[in-house]
Structures are given as structure tokens and as C-alpha cells.
């Protein structure tokens, strides 16, 4: 049962993610998570301020159903299909994180240094989460997709724009992981 309760192998995980995309294609839809953020803005009345949000959100109900399912799936996987043995990252990564004052996983999905309620209550902790979100929301809409829409869906349809977007993901991601994170977390 370790196969289920521990970390799923990358080959199985990757296959099942590819399958998710193909299932949605079979249902006549496209795989993309970030468009739900736009739909939610429209539902909140953003159409009054920008034409970008003027569309009938009811046509996107199917996608909101996927996201609601993903939320439930996260709950099921975390509370019923895990035994706390996962997230065994490279020991070098762990010691590197230690120098930044970021706690080791020890089975956790997310570090307390960024995601605990105590961190959230500090101005710096709150700002990191909010700015991270702003970049994700603005960046994905500007690029017209995220990991699901470009890296999986777009690339598997051999789309050149998606390749450019994925190169962008890595420019930004590498800059953050190698240069900016150390500046933010450097213990003075």
C-alpha cells in the first residue's frame, strides 16, 4: 500500500496528468486552470470595469466544476491517501533551505516559514503570499495560460507560443529561486 500512501512515481503521475488533459479534450473542453481566475473576476462583477471580463460566466461552469473537484481531490489525497512519508526532497536542497531559514519538509507539502498562520500574521509573510499571488494572476493571464494550459496542453499540441511561455516560466522561476529568494530570506 506504500505505492498509494507514499509519493507517487513521476512516471505514473505524469501519465495520469496527461490523461486528465486528454479526458477534458474528449469532453470537448481544454485543459487550463488559470482561466478560472478570470471567470471568478467576472462573477464578482469585474465586467463593469473592463471588457476583458464581459462574458457569460455560465459557459465556464464546467471549468469551475473541475476546480471544485480539484479542491475535493486535494482533501481526499491529503487526509485519506497519505501517511506522512512523502516529500523526500534532495538532502542538498534541505541543507540549502536551512541556510535560508526555511524548515525541512518532514512529510509536509509546504514550509512553515512561508505558509504557517504565524508567518501569515507578519507583514513580510503576508506580503510574500500576496505578491506571489499577484504575479501568478497577472502573469498567467498576460501569457494566456499556466502550467496546465501551456506546459502540458499547449506543448503537447506542439504550439510555439506555449514553448515561448514555458521558457518565460523558467526565466522567472530560475531568477526567483536563485537570486531573489536568497535576498528575501537571508537571515540578517
Amino acid at each position: 500500500m506504500e505505492y498509494i500512501y507514499g509519493t507517487w512515481h513521476w512516471a505514473i503521475s505524469g501519465f495520469l496528468i496527461g490523461l486528465t488533459m486528454l479526458i477534458l479534450t474528449y469532453f470537448g473542453k481544454s485543459f487550463g486552470m488559470s482561466s478560472n481566475l478570470r471567470t471568478m473576476c467576472t462573477m464578482a462583477g469585474a465586467g463593469k470595469f473592463s471588457d476583458f471580463f464581459k462574458f457569460d460566466w455560465r459557459e465556464q461552469k464546467w471549468s469551475l466544476a473541475v476546480v471544485l473537484g480539484a479542491f475535493v481531490g486535494g482533501f481526499i489525497a491529503f487526509y485519506f491517501l497519505s501517511n506522512g512519508t512523502g516529500v523526500n526532497i534532495n538532502p542538498d536542497t534541505v541543507s540549502q533551505l536551512q541556510t535560508l531559514g526555511i524548515d525541512a519538509p518532514k512529510g509536509k507539502l509546504m514550509p512553515d516559514a512561508i505558509f504557517s498562520m504565524e508567518t501569515l500574521k507578519t507583514p513580510k509573510g503576508f506580503a510574500i503570499l500576496l505578491i506571489g499571488g499577484l504575479l501568478i494572476g497577472f502573469g498567467t493571464r498576460y501569457a494566456g495560460g499556466c502550467t496546465s494550459g501551456h506546459a502540458i496542453s499547449g506543448l503537447s499540441n506542439l504550439q510555439l507560443p506555449s514553448l515561448v511561455a514555458v521558457v518565460g516560466f523558467f526565466i522567472g522561476g530560475l531568477a526567483m529561486a536563485h537570486f531573489i529568494l536568497p535576498l528575501i530570506f537571508k537571515t540578517a
Binding site: 498509494i4 507517487w8 505524469g14 501519465f15 495520469l16 496528468i17 488533459m21 486528454l22 469532453f27 470537448g28 488559470s34 481566475l37 478570470r38 471568478m40 473576476c41 469585474a46 473592463s50 471580463f53 466544476a65 476546480v67 471544485l68 473537484g69 480539484a70 479542491f71 475535493v72 481531490g73 486535494g74 489525497a77 526532497i89 534532495n90 533551505l97 507539502l109 509546504m110 514550509p111 512561508i114 498562520m117 499571488g133 499577484l134 504575479l135 501568478i136 497577472f138 498567467t140 493571464r141 498576460y142 501569457a143 496546465s148 506546459a151 502540458i152 506543448l155 510555439l160 515561448v164 511561455a165 514555458v166 518565460g168 516560466f169 526565466i171 522567472g172 522561476g173 531573489i180 529568494l181
Partner: protein, 137 residues
């Protein structure tokens, strides 16, 4: 119920991404440090599955669930929107370790602080909507 199949697909996706640990901040950090093959293996296998699947769909002209022929939408041409937008998303991805799908999945795993990321992401999307016509695409 018409939405049930989408809801079930979402549950499947949420379980897979959580168990793959693709929702984990640590896995994203490790990936950008090139210290593990895990995330590259996942993305590579997903891509391989997708490419093969799409080719099968095209070659055998497979019909969708409703009996219509499948048209996979081509992405709009452009350069600046993809490279700039992509880089901005990459910065956020590596900072808080989540892409839009995992934001919702992580809420389900009880990572409540991710709600702040969600609020930021909604604000960011809204700001893009306001600035859209002024940006190079």
C-alpha cells in the same frame, strides 16, 4: 447532471497532483535548483502522453463525448505576451510554489494561508484586465 463528469475529473486531478507532490513548494524549489528529476519526469511524461494522445485523436479523427469532431484550439501568435507574462508567472510560481490549479488543491489539503495567494491571483488577473490594451502582446 451535466457537470458531474467535470467534477469527477477535477477530483482525479486533485488527487494525482497532491500525490505527485507537484503542489508542494519544496518540489518546485528543488526543480528550479535542478536537484531532482521528479518534476521534470512528471512534466515530461505528461507531455509524452499528451503528444501521443493528440496524434491518435488527429490520426483516427476521434469524436468527442458529444459526437462532435475534436478541434484542439491553436494558441494565438505573439511573442512579448508569452515571454513577459510567462516570466512574471515564473517569478510567482517559484516564490509561493503554486500554479493556479494547485492553489485550489492546496486549500483542500488545509493549507489555509494559500487563500492569500488566491486573493492576490484574483487581483492580478483583475489588474491585467484593466491594463490589457496598454500592454505589448
Amino acid at each position: 447532471m451535466k457537470l458531474a463528469r467535470f467534477f469527477l475529473t477535477g477530483i482525479f486531478f486533485g488527487i494525482v497532483l497532491t500525490k505527485a507532490e507537484a503542489v508542494s513548494w519544496y518540489r518546485i524549489y528543488e526543480m528550479f535548483q535542478f536537484q531532482s528529476f521528479h518534476m521534470y519526469g512528471i512534466i515530461g511524461t505528461a507531455l509524452f502522453t499528451g503528444v501521443v494522445g493528440n496524434q491518435i485523436i488527429k490520426k483516427f479523427k476521434i469524436k468527442d463525448y458529444n459526437g462532435y469532431s475534436i478541434h484542439i484550439i491553436e494558441k494565438e501568435r505573439g511573442f512579448w505576451r508569452y515571454i513577459i507574462g510567462g516570466s512574471l508567472f515564473g517569478l510567482g510560481w517559484a516564490l509561493v510554489g503554486s500554479c493556479p490549479g494547485p492553489i485550489f488543491i492546496l486549500l483542500g489539503t488545509g493549507t489555509y494561508a494559500i487563500a492569500v495567494v488566491l486573493i492576490g491571483a484574483l487581483l492580478g488577473t483583475y489588474i491585467y484586465g484593466l491594463l490589457k490594451d496598454k500592454l505589448p502582446h
